[in-house]
């Protein structure tokens, strides 16, 4: 790192930069790298030749002044300050023998690379936006011809629609308040209604399961719920003297028929 600039020459621009920098609203910077890039411009050299040591000092001075003026800096600015303070000390001190990891020069060079890359991307963005643009400088056919006969319907959906749909399902689930899931719950009242309607036809012994609604066994919860509801309803009907119940042996199918047939 070139550090052949003397103390006097160094302080003058630094003071100026600090003064200028503080005029700029801290909120105007898009993060520490942006601030560093702005500070680096005061060195008026090619970014490849930038003095990272000088830059680190400018940055630290900026942060110090911001603090003195009680301007609150976001955490990432302070993280960068800490890192630059560390880098500065490593740049100034002779390397520790046997220390592993990247050297101070490598770290400085990477920072310079990052600044140059960011600067390059800014320029590229500006050049891109300065290009002729569709709908501003050049135009598509204003009156596209679409014959209205021979109409074919297609359905459009974008990936964004798809992702949003999925996100919607997910969000809906995650933020659902606690409620009982009722979709698969079959109440005894419902079962009673069903069976009262059906039992009139059941002159012969019929298995209880034949009274279950369509699709009762498509879902474990639905199966348990309908079984329980119909079992209870059957007992209720027997109690009222409407049906008879029989079961061949333990776990054998339960059969019922209308009483008096």
């Amino acid at each position: 790192m070139p550090d052949d600039w003397d103390e006097q020459e160094r302080l003058a621009p630094l003071d100026r930069v600090a003064a200028e920098a503080l005029i700029v609203d801290v909120d105007g910077f898009e993060g520490p790298l942006d601030l560093l890039l702005t500070l680096s411009r005061t060195q008026k050299v090619d970014l490849r030749r930038i003095s990272v040591l000088q830059l680190a000092e400018q940055y630290l001075l900026f942060v110090e002044q911001a603090r003195a003026m009680r301007i609150e800096l976001a955490a990432d600015y302070l993280v960068m300050a800490a890192w630059l303070a560390y880098l500065k000390s490593r740049l100034l001190l002779p390397p520790e023998p046997g220390a592993d990891g990247p050297s101070a020069e490598d770290l400085a060079a990477h920072l310079a690379f990052q600044l140059e890359r960011l600067s390059a991307m800014r320029d590229a963005a500006a050049r891109l936006m300065a290009r002729d643009q569709l709908g501003r400088d050049f135009f598509a056919r204003g009156l596209p011809e679409e014959v209205t006969r021979a109409r074919k319907v297609t359905y459009a959906a974008t990936l964004l629609d798809l992702m949003r749909a999925y996100a919607r399902i997910r969000t809906r689930d995650e933020f659902r308040p606690f409620v009982m899931d009722r979709a698969h719950v079959f109440t005894m009242e419902q079962a009673l209604d069903r069976m009262r309607g059906l039992i009139g036809y059941a002159g012969e012994w019929a298995e209880l399961t034949s009274f279950m609604p369509d699709g009762w066994d498509t879902n474990p919860m639905r199966r348990r719920s309908s079984t329980a509801a119909h079992f209870a309803a059957m007992l209720e009907l027997a109690k009222g003297g409407h049906v008879e119940i029989r079961q061949g042996e333990v776990f054998a199918p339960i059969q019922i028929r209308r009483r008096g047939s």
Binding site: E145, V147, Y166, T218
Partner: protein
């Protein structure tokens, strides 16, 4: 066309500071191309540089397009480019009506894409409502989903998977390129949390639903 020709032969005093006729022709060509409706000569006069003679430019332009795939036609007082009448048959493909996929369809599609191979029962479990036959049929007809292997579980239910056509339409290399939940959230797509319970627009498919958290693991 007689009026146009008259202008051609008319006095040219006002043209002294106008761009050359070739340039005027380019300008009229661009304006007619980009305009959303036929353009009148009066409007061309307003839009062209001072002193330009759009009527003459139109004569040149019309000539230039004679026998081409498009023609400069006059509609009332106005001019527009139109497909040459003998090529109308080529325009048939242009007549596609695009409709937005219904909410049920897009959600079903999303579930198939994220969870494939997936059975109908699983789709219903995730969406919390029954999947109508029409929805699945529509997605099959669009060739965005197709039948996969049967699941080796009781009943051997059929499964659904997404197709190459689907990947093509959505610009995906594979279904695994779909962003995960973490990424959806990072992109801000998961921000719209319904206030409490179901959003108002969900009334039509408002059934309870079983939370199947293990189905959603990324």
């Amino acid at each position: 066309m007689s009026d146009v020709k008259e202008v051609l032969q008319g006095p040219e005093k006002s043209l002294f500071d106008a761009p050359p006729m070739g340039e005027q022709e380019r300008m009229v060509e661009a304006i007619l191309f980009a305009a959303a409706e036929p353009v009148t000569v009066a409007e061309l006069v307003v839009r062209l540089p001072h002193g330009a003679d759009p009527a003459e430019a139109l004569v040149h332009l019309r000539k230039r397009y004679e026998g081409r795939g498009v023609a400069l036609v006059r509609i009332g007082d106005a001019y527009a480019f139109r497909t040459a009448p003998d090529l109308g048959h080529l325009m048939r493909k242009e007549t596609v009506e695009t409709r937005k996929l219904s909410r049920a369809a897009i959600e079903t599609l999303a579930i198939v894409a994220y969870h494939q191979p997936v059975t109908r029962a699983e789709i219903e479990e995730i969406r919390g409502v029954a999947v109508s036959r029409g929805t699945v049929d529509q997605l099959m007809e669009l060739e965005w989903i197709r039948l996969g292997r049967r699941r080796m579980t009781p009943g051997r239910p059929v499964t659904f998977v997404v197709t190459e056509t689907f990947l093509d339409h959505f610009g995906l290399e594979s279904a695994r390129d779909l962003p995960g939940i973490k990424e959806l959230r990072a992109a801000g797509l998961l921000e719209n949390r319904p206030p409490l319970g179901h959003g108002p627009s969900e009334a039509e498919d408002d059934d309870g639903q079983i939370g199947q958290s293990e189905l959603f693991e990324d």
